[in-house]
Every structure is written in structure tokens, then in C-alpha cells.
Assembly symmetry: C2
Homo-oligomer: 637 residues x 2
């Protein structure tokens, strides 16, 4: 029996301070507004207002609907957190425009209704048709769940009902989405409507994909290589898959849907595949920041241990976000702490690096190393941009920053459990199915400080499942001053009590500075270390370095590491913990202009500072490195 936990949302969890709260605030205040503005400026919204006809500018691209849908989802989530009449009016207008564009049979797609009306469902592989539908469903579910608005939900149910007559067990034809997303969306729709056919269609998309005869091979006019099918996670059924493969965003969105279907259909075999894929991804194909997709080429996951840090890499923001969705689902199902640790790794590092502190500039590629001569491929800019032609990352942040609560806690309504995944400062209030309520406030400065207080605000019998992070080797938990646990992290500690108002749980996490090595098969990281403290991965950025970052060598044994709490004048958020340390500058003397030369190595002492990776490139264009060269002791022999 697979657990049926449900993650929190903005109604249960109110962030009160700290990193996540600050990011949520920029999301509400800036990201929503700026992505809405860009949707207007680029013609995306106009494609709804004035249906495109030949001769008009701004022909709707096949993925435009998804951008609008993601921003709408963000608008709904933002309104749930902070009502805003003007925003709500605009939100309603966008919904009206979408609903007005719906066809009589329920079909809803701006591109295929205006640009290629005769080509509906003829190029599922490339045309993002079901992907757009998925994002619209997600927006509809958010609008309904968070705001109680049914209009878009009803429209998307009509569309989904129509889809059920076309594809899947009740449909007439085979078909797989070229860019997965609709699977997880249909499961969301099923959760709020309880219409079984949506779950069945999701299960069909999950289970039929990759079977023989291969739908994509039949659909696509040109031959598709195995490599191409792998790009679409369609070379074999996911049930037979052991590896995370292909286009990174497609992959993680798909794995979310697979996990959802495994969960809701109690499919242990499918869950086993999710576990294998997750382990392959995290043990062999993930950056230390939680970024995934090591090649700009195909925006793709490549092969085991192939993890470049510079030019070639990708680690797209959307992929990191999607990876946290996958982690969260695995966590909801299994309640195994490792899923929380990876979720948190991506969330605090490889996701948050994707957006500037001003909430309006984005990385597509989240490099781990940027030197002055970085060669950029595709959308890979070492400076965050306001928008991209293919602007999935900005619109993803619009819906992500406004829904951070989902990562903080989860609930098991059947057994009255509250799982606290990330002990960030927040007020939590949850009514279980049986009417009991759990209410408590988390305070502290996690992830920068390891002292966490949980003050219970309501009386009742329920279980608080406290996550003891896997990265921590010294956790102490007390209830009302009495120690109930002391030891290493890596699991959840269930605190079952009849709680009384005023009860206090304290958790002390030793935030040791860790120097991480990569498996030596990651040859790009050989002889280098990454700095981590708690769940936060650090980098050295040029504004804090007295020499080019590439010349810095760090010897952990005599680094004299010092934690410094930054103030607002630092250009980074007040309260950020930076690390100051002794290091060396290594240069090799080159008398001429040769690229390769004999030369004497010179080493001089320096003191420099590391900052959280997620915060780099917020003080102007800069150079940066996560993996810092370290020293090997020279031995005589």
C-alpha cells in the first residue's frame, strides 16, 4: 500500500521569514508582474485577445499557451497568498480569454486553432500540444483549489473529457505527448474532480509510452534513431527503465507523472522504476547543486558521471524545478528522508540560482563554473536575462515562487500526521479529514542557522514527523526541554503526542562546513572540492576574490573557515551566511604568449569569501566556481 500523503499549499503554510519567504515575496511582488508584462509585450496575450490570422504579427508559437498558463497558475497562487483586486481582475480576464477560445468540442489550443487548424494532433512529438493542455490544467486546478474559481477548471474538464474520447482506454487512437506534463496534470485534475477517466488517461500516457509499435516512429515523417526516442523517454516503457534519460525537463515532468500514477493506482512495479530512475539520476547524473541535464545539446541528461561545469553544461532552471517536484512526489509516497535531502539540495541551490534577487532576471543554464571566457551555447548566458525566445524558465518561476509551501510540509489525513520537510520559519495550520487541527509555528533562520523552534498553537492528538536531515551528523531534538533524540540525521522522527498549546519542540542541527568530493568518475571535478554548509552549496564569486577565481586553491586543513552573517550593505540578503577562509592563489609564470609552456608555479596566500551558490551574479557580471581546486600533499619518496 502506497502512502497517500498530500503536500501542503499556501492555505496550510504561511512562510514568515527567511530565504523561502524572501523568494516568495519577490515572486508575488515582481516575478508575477514582470512575466505578465512580458506575455503582453511578446504578443502571447494578444494571441488570445485577437485570434491570429495570416498577415498579423506575432504568430502564436506552439508553446505560448504553456507560458500563459504557468503565469496564470502563478497569479492564482499569488492571489491566494495576497489578495489584489487589480491582479484578480486581470487573472479573470485571462481565464475568460482562454475559455472564449475553447472550441465547441472542448479542444483548446491557441496555435492549432489559429495557425494550423487542420493539423490538430498530427505532430504530437514536436508540437507541445498536450504539454500546453497539461499546463492549462495545472493553472485551472490552482485557480480552483486556491481561489475557488471554477471557470477554467470546468473548461479544462471539457477539454480533458474530449481528450479521453480521443486517446487512452476510452479513446479511439494511440498518442503520446512529445513533451510530457499532461500526465501529472491529469492526476491533479483527478484529485480535485475524482473523475476516474482522468487518472486512467494519465496512466495510459505513462504506461503506453515506449511500447511497441512505437507511436512516435509511426507518427513522425522521418526515421527516429534510438537516441532520438531516448530524448523523449520513449525508447522503452518506463517500467523497464533504470536510468534517467533524454531531455531533462521532459524527463522529470514525466517521472512526476509516473510517480503520481504509481501512487494513485498502487502500482508497486511503477514505483520501483521511479526509485531506480531516481537513484540513477541522483547517484550518477546530478550536479552537486541539484541541477540536472549536463548537456546544452538536446538540453539533456547524458550518461553516468558526465557532468561538465562550464560551457557545455545546461542544468536548466526548469529541470531543477521539475526535479524538486519529482522529489516531493517520491517523498510523499515513501517518506524516505533521502528524497527530502535531494529536494532541498535542488531547492536551495540549483533552483534558486535560476532567478535574480530582484525576481525579474533568469538563468536558463545554471553553470557551476563561469570564467571570463565561458563559451555559451543555446540559451546559456552567464548573466541572467529578463526573457528568452523560449521562455519556459521565467514563467516556471512565476508559478514556483508562489507555491513554495508545497516543499515545506505534507499531511497524512488518514493517520493525522504532519510531516515537516523543511524547518523554515512559518506558521502551519492544517485541518485533518477527521476535523482535528494541527497548528504550530516554526521559528529560526534555517537554512543558515541550525536552531529551530516549533511552538504548538493548538491542542490535539496528532503526530509531528520531524525530518532529521541526512546531511547532518549531529541532530538533537527536545520536547518541552526534554531531549528525545540525539544522533545523526537521515530519517523522520515521529513525535506522537496529545499536544497542548504552548508545547515547544526544539531541533538543533549542527551546521558543519563540509568539503565535498565528487566520485572520481566525475573527472571534471577531480582534485576539486565543493563547500557545503547545511543544505547550502557555496561558490566563490569574483567580487569576493582577490584574484581570478580560477587561480584559487583551497586547502581545507588550513583554511581557518569563518562564518560571517552579512548585512544589507553587502549587496546580498541580510542574514546570509558567507564563509571567509584562507586560501592560495596559484599562478604559473609565462614569459611569452604561448598557450602551453613550461613555467614555475607560484603560490601566494590570500583570504577570500564564499557565498551561497544560489546568490551569485546578483552584484553584476562576474566569474564564479563551485568546484574549487584543492591541494594534494606533496610527499617525498
Amino acid at each position: 500500500m502506497i502512502s497517500k500523503k498530500q503536500c501542503a499549499d499556501g492555505r496550510d503554510v504561511e512562510l514568515t521569514s527567511g530565504v523561502l519567504k524572501e523568494r516568495q515575496e519577490t515572486g508575488i511582488g515582481r516575478t508575477i508582474a514582470s512575466t505578465m508584462k512580458k506575455c503582453v509585450e511578446t504578443g502571447r496575450l494578444r494571441s488570445l485577445e485577437t485570434p491570429w490570422q495570416e498577415g498579423m504579427p506575432d504568430k502564436p508559437h506552439v508553446y505560448w499557451d504553456s507560458d500563459l498558463a504557468k503565469v496564470m497558475e502563478g497569479m492564482a497562487a499569488s492571489l491566494a497568498l495576497r489578495p489584489d483586486a487589480a491582479l484578480e481582475k486581470e487573472y479573470d480576464r485571462w481565464v475568460d480569454l482562454f475559455v472564449a477560445s475553447q472550441q465547441p468540442d472542448g479542444y483548446l489550443n491557441t496555435h492549432f486553432t489559429t495557425v494550423e487548424p487542420e493539423k490538430r494532433f498530427t505532430n504530437l512529438l514536436e508540437a507541445h500540444e498536450l504539454y500546453c493542455c497539461g499546463h492549462l490544467i495545472e493553472a485551472a486546478v490552482a485557480g480552483y483549489t486556491l481561489l475557488g474559481k471554477r471557470k477554467l477548471l470546468d473548461a479544462m474538464c471539457r477539454y480533458a473529457d474530449y481528450l479521453c474520447t480521443v486517446f487512452g482506454p476510452h479513446g479511439v487512437r494511440q498518442g503520446w505527448p512529445g513533451h510530457e506534463e499532461i500526465e501529472l496534470a491529469l492526476v491533479k485534475l483527478y484529485r480535485v474532480t475524482h473523475k476516474k477517466r482522468y487518472l486512467e488517461l494519465a496512466a495510459y500516457f505513462v504506461n503506453d509510452r515506449g511500447t511497441q509499435p512505437n507511436f512516435f516512429v509511426g507518427e513522425y515523417p522521418k526515421p527516429l534513431s534510438d537516441e532520438a526516442l531516448k530524448h523523449f523517454q520513449a525508447l522503452k516503457p518506463v517500467r523497464e527503465e533504470n536510468e534517467a534519460v533524454g531531455h531533462a525537463v521532459r524527463a522529470v515532468y514525466f517521472y512526476c507523472g509516473v510517480a503520481d500514477v504509481a501512487n494513485l493506482t498502487d502500482d508497486g512495479e511503477l514505483l520501483a522504476s521511479c526509485r531506480k530512475i531516481f537513484d540513477n539520476l541522483t547517484q550518477k547524473r546530478m550536479y552537486v547543486t541539484g541541477g540536472i541535464g549536463s548537456s546544452f545539446h538536446g538540453e539533456a541528461i547524458t550518461s553516468d558521471y558526465d557532468l561538465q561545469n562550464g560551457s557545455l553544461m545546461y542544468a536548466e532552471s526548469c529541470a531543477a524545478m521539475g526535479f524538486t517536484f519529482f522529489c516531493r512526489r517520491m517523498l510523499d509516497i515513501t517518506c524516505e528522508e533521502k528524497y527530502a535531502s535531494f529536494m532541498e539540495r535542488a531547492l536551495f541551490n540549483g533552483v534558486m540560482s535560476g532567478i535574480s534577487l530582484d525576481g525579474e532576471h533568469y538563468f536558463y543554464t545554471n553553470y557551476l563554473e563561469v570564467d571570463e571566457n565561458l563559451h555559451c551555447y543555446n540559451a546559456g548566458s552567464p548573466v541572467r536575462k529578463e526573457w528568452f525566445d523560449c521562455s519556459c524558465c521565467p514563467t516556471s518561476f512565476a508559478r514556483y515562487l508562489t507555491q513554495l509551501a508545497q516543499f515545506v510540509a505534507a499531511f497524512d489525513d488518514e493517520r493525522d500526521h504532519v510531516y515537516l520537510h523543511i524547518p523554515t520559519a512559518c506558521k502551519l495550520h492544517h485541518a485533518f479529514a477527521d476535523g482535528k487541527t494541527a497548528e504550530f509555528e516554526v521559528s529560526g533562520s534555517y537554512p543558515y542557522d541550525g536552531n529551530i523552534k516549533i511552538d504548538v498553537r493548538s491542542a490535539g492528538e496528532w503526530t509531528l514527523d520531524l525530518r532529521l536531515p541526512g546531511w547532518c551528523d549531529d541532530v538533537a531534538v527536545s520536547v518541552n526541554g526534554k531531549e528525545v533524540y540525539r544522533g545523526a540525521g537521515g530519517n523522520y522522527l515521529p513525535l506522537h503526542r496529545v499536544w497542548r498549546q504552548g508545547d515547544r519542540v526544539e531541533m538543533k542541527l549542527a551546521l558543519r562546513i563540509q568539503f565535498l568530493h565528487a566520485d572520481s568518475r566525475v573527472t571534471n571535478d577531480l582534485g576539486r572540492i565543493a563547500i557545503q554548509r547545511g543544505p547550502v552549496v557555496y561558490c566563490i564569486e569574483s567580487p569576493d576574490a582577490p584574484c581570478p577565481v580560477r587561480e584559487i586553491v583551497l586547502d581545507p586543513e588550513c583554511a581557518d573557515m569563518k562564518e560571517v552573517i552579512l548585512d544589507a550593505g553587502s549587496g546580498l540578503p541580510a542574514g546570509t551566511v558567507a564563509l571567509q577562509f584562507d586560501a592560495w592563489r596559484e599562478t604559473v609564470k609565462n614569459d611569452g604568449d604561448a598557450l602551453y609552456f613550461e613555467g614555475e608555479t607560484q603560490i601566494t596566500p590570500i583570504r577570500c569569501t564564499a557565498i551561497p551558490y544560489a546568490l551569485w551574479q546578483n552584484r553584476g557580471p562576474s566569474q564564479m566556481a563551485v568546484w574549487i581546486r584543492t591541494m594534494t600533499e606533496r610527499k617525498e619518496r
Copy 2:
């Protein structure tokens, strides 16, 4: 006034022993035969024997003519070195087939005569049309020069005459080759025919390229980005170019043509561009092996200091060969030793690595680092293959290994100079324009041994310009036992004498083992060194390593380097100098299956061996690295 030196060919220089001689032998004995066989098996030759028609298999690809032409050029060069009646008969048959396929107006192209007869000259950007013509011209010139056979030469003159009526100063329309090659070929044709219009057409292709309005932008049906035009060296006129850009093979073939035109039209401005481009390429964009093109993506040169060693890189064999052609031309023009040094670097390393010792297997991508988990893009296999769909590299070797003499020496017939670029064992015999002859024999085991003897075999007054290699800091030259030079290398030493038979010149080159650093802006090579001895770059290959190559750390200060001359039982050519040395194996203890972990570094002494990079992967699939991690002294502070 630009020098008008002419490089040697197989008629002037007879290789007698050593690395180049051995490679030439496999070229004659194996590469020619195996590429001929592949041209038959793959339908390439059949496309000439039985002109393709709809419904027949093996539709001629746009580049097939070039493959056949390069093999024909190799056949001619092979026949010049070693007469072979059967091979000559086959060569004549190929020539007959090509000539029979020539159209009445002189046009000659298998693809466009059979597959798309209506599309002649409509897609110069992509269709390799003028590229194929260039290779056929080169084959024709080789057949004429080396064998005295006129038939193909006459046919190609007819084609070139026709081209002159279409393009260029005497033509009717604008046009640039999408893949350069014809420029250098037309110059070759001009050199043997003295028909000025061929040089004029070459000069047109060189000078018009990149001017406004941009021909490619006008020709191509879709918009072309600046990046796309750069790929084709067509974003701006080469006269305004300071950098080596775009597709690496296109680039170096083009720069050869530019240098040729600069040379033969005494165009100092064009030559200045060649110098700038060459400097940019060699000081910022070249591997230590002389390989160029650091990205599989577009098979392209990227940007300064962007030089990956593994997955992403390319360093195509054809590009390295083309680079040696460019070096040779710059050397012919300037007689500056640096051009010889770079030529030799590529020749002995990044070119020769491209072909197996059996002469029948090829790398497309010449990696500098191959670990067990290498991710391969495009044609990038870490194991040499017999053939590729796009099989430029094998056919390039067919013509390259049979014409190695061109790199050994050059002549200035106007001033009676012999330039000895590479002092490999050979017999040289050259008749100057004034009837004087220079004849001498070079002996020794260069590049593995630095003791070179040159025995003069004929009497006469001429100048021997002896190259003193730039990589050598201790060169001693004596004539008949009397020292005439002692000092560092980096220039040519002119020995002007009335030579007598029996005169002996000796050159002693100190072959010090060098540990090279890369400019620190090549961040991929930080903390690593490459081993070089003379012009030979070394690597560590797994058969010679007691642990995974990636775990080896080399400390030059206590390496106890020892030179070992291998015998035939080694699996590598007898006489190869390998290097044995003390090193360290560095591992980090990992108790679990985490990709990133804290762990104690363990270091154990090992002894291992480095072999010439060009010889790796001749003992089965293996791992290999050129850039070896080194040690930084741990200092207390």
C-alpha cells in the same frame, strides 16, 4: 615581397626510416587499399560506374565525389612512391569513370548530374558542390605532377574553365563555396597550368567571401544568424578577420587558400590576416596536440581558451591535417620557425592519433581524455572505426600518409635554398631551377632521438636552412666536426657553402622531458600538466597504468622520469620512446553510493608509463589522459 618557396614532394624526399616512414608505409600498404574497398562497398564508386537513377540503391551523397577524389589523390601519391601495375590500372579506371561523367560544358559532379540535375549551383552553402570540385582538382594535380598523367587534369581544367565563366571576375554571378577547399585547389591548378584565371577565381573566392551583400544570406531560403555565417567563415571578409572561427575543417582549408592567394598575389594585407588568424588559433584555440575544434557542436572552433578534453570536444582528424597544410603554407611564405613548430606539433600528435597503426581504423574525434564513462556526441567514438557515414577522415588519411614529404623540406629555387623543416631520416635530392642539385641524406631517429646527421651526397653551392626547433633550448650544430651554432632553437640556421660530397652536418637537439602548463584561462587544464619530449606529446593509457588513469597524480619534482625504448613485443612500434615515472594514486574514501561526499583522501605511490599520444588505443579499448593532475605544495601559514 613574399617568398615563393615550394614544399617538397615524394620525388624530392625519400623517407628511409622512423615514424613518418612507418606511417607512410601503412598508408601505401593499407590505408589506400582499405579506403578503396570502402568506396566500393558503400556504393561510392558504383555511383560513377552506373549513374544513379530513381529506384536504385546508394543515392550519391553530395560529398561522395570528394571521398573518391581524396582516395584517387592518395592512389597517385602511392604509385609515385611505389609503382604497382594493378593499382595503376584501377587508378586509371577511376579517372576514366570521372572523365566519362563530365558534362559537355565541363561540369562534373556525380550528385548533381544524377540526383538533382536541375539544382546545379542552387545550394552552394550546403551542397559541397565546389568542395568536391576542389578535391577533384587536387587529385588531378597530384596525378599530373607525380605520375605525369594528364587525363584528369585536362578534365578538371575544362571544369575550372567552365567555373570561370560562371563565378568570379570573368563569370556572370556571385557565389561562394559552402565548404571551402576549391580556393587552395585552384591555386594548385594555377601552379601547374600557369593559367592566370584559376588564380583569379581563387582570389575572388577568398576576397568576395563575407562581403556585403552577403551571398549566403541571399541564397539560403531561411534567415542565417551571424553565428551561422561565422560557421562558414562568411560573417565578414577574411581581410577584416582576427580570429579563427567556425567549422574547423572549413576554416583551415579556407585559411590555406587565403595564404596561397596572399602568396601568389603578393598581398601583404591578406597575409597579415593569416598571421592574426594563425596567432589566435595557436595562442588561444588549439589543443596541446595541435588538434583544433573544441566542440562537437558544429564540429567547430569556439572561443578563446574554451578547450574541453573529453565528451564535448572534437579535434577532428581532418582539421588537424588541414591545420598542418595551413602551417606549411605559412612556413613556405615566411620561413618563421614557429610555423614549423606548430606544424610538427599537429603532425606528430593530433594528426597521427587519428589513425591506427594498422592504417585501417580512424578517429573522427581526437579526445585528450577518455574515461570509462565518456559521453560521445556525433561521430565521437573513443575506439577507432573503419569508416563513418561521413567518411572524410579515412579518405583524408589516404592522401595524407602518402604525401608526408611535403612537411619535411621546402625549396627556394630562385635562391638555391633547401629548408629542412623536420629532420626525419630521409634521402633528399632536389634540382634547383638553375640546374644545380642538392642531395643529402638525413639519418637518426627523430623525433625520439635528438642526434641528427646530414651527409651531403653531391657537390655544389647552395644553402641548407636548418630548422632549430622552437621547443628546444639547447641545439648544437656542427659542420664537418666544427661547431657552427650553439644555443636555443626557434629559428632557421642558414648554412651557405660550396658543399662537397662527404660533408657532414650534425645537429644535436637536447630532448628534455617538459612538463607543460596551459594558460590558466584554459580552466579545464587547471592543476594539470602535459608531458612533452621534443615535439612528441605523451599520454597515460590504461594498459600502462596500475590504477584508473583519472586517479593518477604526477609530481614532476619527484617523478624519477626514465626514458625507455620499446621493442616490438610492446605492441607499439619498436623504437618508440616511452616514459616511466613515479606517480601517486589518489583516491577518496566513499562508504556509500553518494555522488558527492566527505571523505579522506588517500594517496599511494605507483610507477607508471606514458606513451606518445599518437599511439594510444592501439592495444584495444582503453582509457587515456593527456592532462595529468599535478601537485600543489601544501604550505602551512
